[in-house]
């Protein structure tokens, strides 16, 4: 694999989208070319830190119920199969 080709394939390599044989060739090319190795490493890191910095948002029971309430408030007749937990079923009026 020549240098130009290996640089063109960096993104596919980072995405694990190359066949095994080409992966091996990329790894050999990266072993010979520190700049190519650094390019791969930095893109791998960018992908990894992006995921690490954005933990999966929790879809909490409160959010589930609030969305249901929004749907009902906007006129939808929506009945989920599972019932709301007891602590979310009743909204007591605040008196005083």
């Amino acid at each position: 694999m020549n240098q130009e080709t290996s640089y063109k394939l960096v993104d596919l390599y980072v995405d694990n989208a190359l066949p095994e044989e080409l992966c091996r060739e990329m790894e050999e090319a990266a072993g010979r070319d520190p700049a190519l190795a650094a390019e791969i490493e930095s893109l791998d890191e960018a992908k990894a830190v992006l995921k690490a910095a954005h933990p999966r948002p929790d879809f909490t029971e409160e959010s589930f119920q609030r969305i249901l309430m929004l749907l009902v408030a906007r006129g939808a007749d929506v009945r989920p199969r599972s019932e709301a937990p007891v602590h979310l079923q009743y909204q007591l009026p605040i008196l005083g």
């Binding site: 993104d11 980072v14 930095s42 893109l43 890191e45 960018a46 992908k47 990894a48 830190v49 992006l50 995921k51 690490a52 910095a53 954005h54 933990p55 999966r56 948002p57 929790d58 879809f59 959010s63 589930f64 609030r66 969305i67 249901l68 929004l70 749907l71 906007r74 939808a76 007749d77 929506v78 009945r79 989920p80 199969r81 599972s82």
Partner: protein, 181 residues
Amino acid sequence: MSSDSQQDSLAEKRWLNALAKGDPSALGALYEVYGERIFRYAFRMLGNRSDAEDATAETFLRVLRRSNELRADAAFRTWLFRITRNLCIDKMRQHKLVDLPVDAHCGSPEERTALKITVQQALSDLPNEYREPLILCDLEDISAKEAAEVLKISVPALKSRLYRGRRALRDKLGGSLEKIS
């Protein structure tokens, strides 16, 4: 198609047919199946829980309003994501900026949290054409084909934006990458 996805598809067809006939439990069932994925996507796009809840509710309202036209096929999920995307873009235009997802649980020491905020800021600073493929493919793990359908672009165009987005993110982060990894 795996047997799980075949079963999902059959259940989806049943619920969409029931919805078209006015069965009130059908919207609830579809919300239970897709609510979390739609909420997560909206949260990543908008950066805050309240707007994400609102966009999710509006998405399912649109399902209800268009229940007569909907078909249970592979396009339904893509259509749901596309509706959410359009709603999120409208909200982003109203707010003019994307808040950081402050209520996402990082649960890490202060310094790492600060660096994570740097990454979140870098992502939110990217142009939408780069940010959206990163959210769909790298954060939500949606296939390139499906992400391309959501964004109404070709798969090669999606990949081009995704790869450019990763490079733009890397360049924005600069030295922070070494500290955070």
